[in-house]
Subunit: 299 residues, 2 copies
């Protein structure tokens, strides 16, 4: 059985790291991720650099990567201005994003959910016309930092609206890392019926340690596409110091132990994690990375 991993460390991971990583190091990281066998990498974001200074170098990073036909690079795009930058960087895929909860959507993109649709629809139409694939993120599916519980119908409506725009795959996000396997079974069990598993990805944050347990629950619901971050890079913007995305190393270790194929070389993945940990000058959360570094002499 095959599982696809979408590496979001260079974007979702790094955007929550306060130490600015030079563009050259980001390029090296992405090359190492490609060498480890990752076929889908979210490399940066074209949101306004004022919001996310870490990713202000998106164009430089994307233009510095040695492209491979086998690897799809993508970037977050909030509007047609971002799409134009993505086009100039030669991207074949972009990702749109919005929230399942009204308050988080307003705080994050400064618009009501209803007013977000026309903007994303315009971006999707232009991207599709340019021959790009368009991925969609739905945030706060499992809980909102402002509203708490988010009804499943909200996530369903946003998901269906994005699919109607021509988005090929929806990544459902536990933005604040509150989900447990019970809720994962409920959410994916329902949405798989409406949308089919081929069009759904799971995007878990490990803020409360349940990340891989949630992956196992999603696997049981037929989900075969997971987002993760090298090293467990990044953090939670709502609780600085808490954990961010699930770690790609830990995810791959678990999937291989469960006889899923990922096409990823775990040893090379660990090298990529060790590299970005050194660049940031800190110990990253990935437990497989820590266990590996602990069992080897420093150097």
């Amino acid at each position: 059985m095959r599982v696809q991993i979408v590496e979001v460390g260079p974007r979702d991971g790094l955007q929550n790291e306060s130490a600015i990583v030079p563009a050259a190091a980001k390029i090296v990281l992405i090359h190492k991720l490609m060498a480890a066998g990752l076929k889908r990498i979210e490399a940066s974001s074209f949101v306004n650099p004022k919001w996310i200074p870490q990713l202000a170098d998106a164009d430089e990073v994307l233009q510095g990567i040695n492209r491979s036909q086998e690897v799809t690079l993508s970037a977050l795009v909030p509007n047609v201005r971002g799409l134009e930058r993505a086009r100039q960087c030669g991207l074949n895929e972009i990702a749109l994003f919005m929230s399942a909860s009204e308050t988080h959507n307003q705080k994050n993109i400064n618009k009501r959910i209803e007013d977000t649709y026309p903007i994303l629809r315009e971006v999707a139409q232009e991207a599709l016309a340019l021959g790009m694939k368009v991925r969609g993120y739905v945030s706060t599916v499992f809980g909102c930092p402002y509203e708490g519980n988010v009804p499943l119908d909200n996530s369903r409506r946003v998901t269906e609206s994005l699919l109607e725009m021509g988005v090929y795959e929806i990544s459902l996000g536990d933005t604040i890392g509150v989900a447990t396997p019970k809720q994962v079974h409920e959410v994916f069990g329902e949405l798989v019926k409406d949308v089919t598993n081929e069009r759904l990805a799971a995007h878990f944050h490990d803020t409360r340690g349940t990340g891989l347990a949630n992956v196992a629950a999603a696997l049981e619901e037929g989900i075969r596409i997971f987002d993760s971050s090298i090293g467990g890079l990044g953090g939670c913007p709502y609780a600085p110091g808490a954990a961010g995305n699930i770690s790609t190393e830990d995810l791959v270790y678990m999937l291989h132990g469960m006889d899923y194929e990922t096409g990823i070389d775990l040893e090379k993945l660990i090298e990529a994690g060790a590299y970005i940990g050194q660049q940031l000058g800190k110990e990253l959360p990935s437990k497989v990375l820590r266990a590996s570094l602990a069992s080897k002499p420093a150097g």
Copy 2:
């Protein structure tokens, strides 16, 4: 649905921490764990203090605890000398331990598996005669640091031998933290048939991040007793710097999210984790603890 948690932080957690914690602080920790609602606490170990200096104060710690009828305190006992110390401390429960793999058993207790049985049988008989309950640990069920894969039949044989001695409950340990949910389904799925779920506990280490995913898999196999460590205290003796037991805070968070009852007050549990983290002067691995501390002002 009810789940029992066996708190092993004061023993399995602390024995892998290099900084020596004073007996008085261990007593405070155990009082905080009792206040949080834990009903089963493994408080220390009566192994030779030369092997585990951290737990050389077992008698002082046990005698310093304000006992409660509702809380069962226990300690590891390797032989009849240890049992005598446990008796003098007024314990009603002890725990025996051995390995499912020959090499780990030899390195850990300096005896072959066959030669370990008579010693443990003698301890069990005397403990039962004293009116104590006897728990058993089987180590390396999911993998051995020396032999790698451990056949399920080894674990079955050791489990059955311990039960024949009058041990009431067997805790199956992933000593080096290599298990994934697939293996957990296989091992517990088989052993539950032979032994019934009431007599089996799961003891996971989070060395590779799969700890709570393994708990979710064991829950699906009917397991309702889990060992865990406050704060995720401790580490892996085979990979210093790597993670140890699963964290009690993270376990309780997940179980409550899945509608299991534990009788534990998560806020008070977090206070206990924060306390022992301060005593050790370091940030403990528990993600729930980190998220909680990150969202509160220091103080």
